[in-house]
């Protein structure tokens, strides 16, 4: 009895929040920050080294600049920007339609849009390849109906963008939906009654109130599409090389861990900068709490 009391005293003297979060802190320390620190350590090792404790050098970074790796960085950045912008344009009206015009079906329909997320990327991309390829679904049916078809529509950059937009759509839709729930209907109606135009309501009320969701969605899509490689591999079939592919081949075929690490560090810095600047504008308690 006595020991139980003293245990409970110790228990309550510790901050409950710290206690509850400790397991996750440990997991992320061992499974995320530790590995990243190791990658940073490897990135300053001599070429082809298999130990993280050699004399630090910047030769990998110099190699990267000299060997035109900026091309794949450029492609990844461009693809990420284009697909994030397209996703915003597609998902904002989609979220509006779900919120306002689907009656009681909103939750079910949202689930139906998001559910493909749970099917492995490979399978869905394979489906699109069979759809767009020569003699595939599109080409085949047009040939059958009209006697001519577009031939193969894969192996090019637009097909990669299409694949990325398709794969990452749920990641944009969900945050934008959350953001739109921060726009109360009566505020819109009040503005309408006071004579505001539809455009002004959109610009001065909807967008600012939905901003946290829009920002989170854009950030999420931007960062994960920076690391994309399946789309370029399957739909692009090597027409361009993304940075994630470079990193992978440096590790696997190249057996050059320091170079792969240095490329990864550069990618992380790129993504980290975006996250850092966007995160300063977002209050997480608000986004998740007001649903």
């Amino acid at each position: 009895m006595d020991s139980q009391k003293s245990i409970s005293r110790v228990w309550s003297s510790l901050s409950s929040g710290l206690l509850c979060s400790a397991p996750l802190f440990v997991l992320l320390g061992l499974g995320f920050f530790g590995p990243l620190a190791l990658v940073m350590l490897y990135s300053v090792q001599p070429r082809g080294s298999f130990s993280p404790f050699g004399t630090p050098t910047l030769e990998n970074y110099i190699d990267i600049i000299e060997q035109a790796f900026y091309l794949s960085f450029g492609w990844s950045l461009l693809l990420a920007i284009i697909s994030t912008a397209l996703l915003l344009i597609i998902c904002y009206p989609l979220a509006l339609a779900l919120k306002r015009y689907s009656g009681g079906m909103a939750d079910t329909l949202t689930l139906l849009v998001v559910a493909p997320l749970f099917v492995a990327e490979n399978i869905r991309l394979q489906g699109w390849v069979l759809f767009f390829d020569k003699a595939g679904f599109l080409d085949g049916s047009l040939n059958y109906l009209f006697g001519f078809g577009p031939g193969s529509l894969v192996n090019n950059v637009p097909s990669i963008v299409f694949g990325m937009v398709y794969i990452y759509l749920p990641f944009m839709l969900f945050p934008v939906l959350l953001g739109l729930s921060n726009v109360p209907t009566d505020v819109r109606e009040a503005a309408l009654d006071l004579g505001a135009s539809k455009w002004r309501i959109f610009r001065d009320i909807e967008i600012p109130l939905a901003m946290p969701g829009i920002l989170i969605g854009s950030l999420l899509c931007f960062v994960i599409s920076l690391g994309a490689f399946s789309e370029a591999k399957f739909l692009g079939k090597g027409v361009i090389v993304t940075i994630a592919q470079d990193i992978e081949s440096a590790f696997s075929y190249g057996q050059n861990w320091p170079r792969g690490s240095a490329l990864a560090v550069l990618l992380i810095i790129l993504a980290g900068t975006a996250v850092f600047f966007a995160m300063r504008k977002i209050d997480l308690n608000k986004v998740l709490g007001t649903r």
Binding site: L19, L24, L38, A97, L109, I123
Partner: protein, 265 residues
């Protein structure tokens, strides 16, 4: 003005268009899996179930399904356990490190998975950890446990904390409050979190690819075949994997509806 019939119809057709586009690849995959020819040609001339027969008799695929299922359930069990406590720290308690915790938790979610997979591979290598499905469980936890924490946090933000205080005032111990009040109130969030974890793990490729060593999950098997030589077993396995995911989703939702009903009583 903008609530006109035309506007409503436009919105509805847009919704229908996107919704059907989301499922086009699954339909094509289903179609390809039952066409007889070795390479997919549309319109399909002859249908055949032989690719499914080959799939069901393949020991390799059998193992793959088993590995994927085991990984998914381990990941879901562990991440829900971590996330229940994490969500309390995230949404309920006020403490000094809270905002740091909230931000740090998001970092792995907002991180390119292929890079995380490679970093973990390097990490495991340095400590001499053998790559296996257990390593994959750990790798996926790093990404999935934070997501599950966010999902359960939404539930934790929503419930009335005064119930817990009332129970404490009436003499309930900390453990009793946790077991009899906190857990049931978090119930729907826990069910959603578990379902999300199973499904995200089931469909995950990059983290498994870099950490599973000789063990092969279904997405990895598909990747290998897509790179090394297409056979209609690829769409067959793909479609079966879609069915398993849909089944998990259906079970999750009936569980959720059931727990919601109990709440309303």
């Amino acid at each position: 003005m903008f609530d006109s019939v035309l506007y409503r119809r436009l919105a509805k057709s847009y919704l229908a268009l996107i919704l059907s586009l989301m499922y086009v690849p699954m339909l094509i995959v289903a179609l390809a899996s039952i066409s007889k020819s070795r390479f997919f040609v549309f319109p399909v001339r002859r249908y055949d179930m032989k690719w499914y027969e080959n799939t069901f008799s393949s020991l390799q695929i059998h193992d793959g399904f088993l590995t994927s299922l085991t990984v998914a359930f381990c990941v879901a069990l562990i991440s829900v356990t971590l996330a229940v406590f994490g969500a309390l720290a995230y949404a309920r308690h006020d403490w000094r490190g809270k905002s740091l915790f909230q931000q740090i938790l998001l970092v792995p979610v907002f991180f390119p998975q292929s890079v995380l997979g490679l970093a973990l591979q390097l990490w495991f290598n340095s400590f001499g950890v053998v790559m296996s499905w257990e390593a994959t469980v750990f790798a996926q936890l790093v990404w999935i446990a934070p997501i599950v924490t966010l999902i359960i946090s939404i539930q934790a933000f929503g419930y009335d904390a005064s119930v817990e205080e009332a129970a404490t005032d009436l003499g309930a111990s900390r453990w009793q409050v946790f077991r009899d009040i906190t857990i049931p109130l978090l119930g729907p969030g826990i069910v959603s979190g578990f379902m999300f974890a199973v499904l995200l793990s089931w469909g995950n490729f990059p983290l498994a690819y870099f950490t599973s060593g000789a063990d092969v999950t279904i997405p990895e098997w598909l990747y290998g075949k897509m790179i090394g030589g297409y056979t209609p077993m690829v769409p067959a396995v793909g479609f079966l994997s879609v069915l398993v995911g849909a089944l998990a989703l259906a079970i999750g939702f009936s569980l959720k509806a059931f727990s919601g009903q109990k709440d309303n009583k």
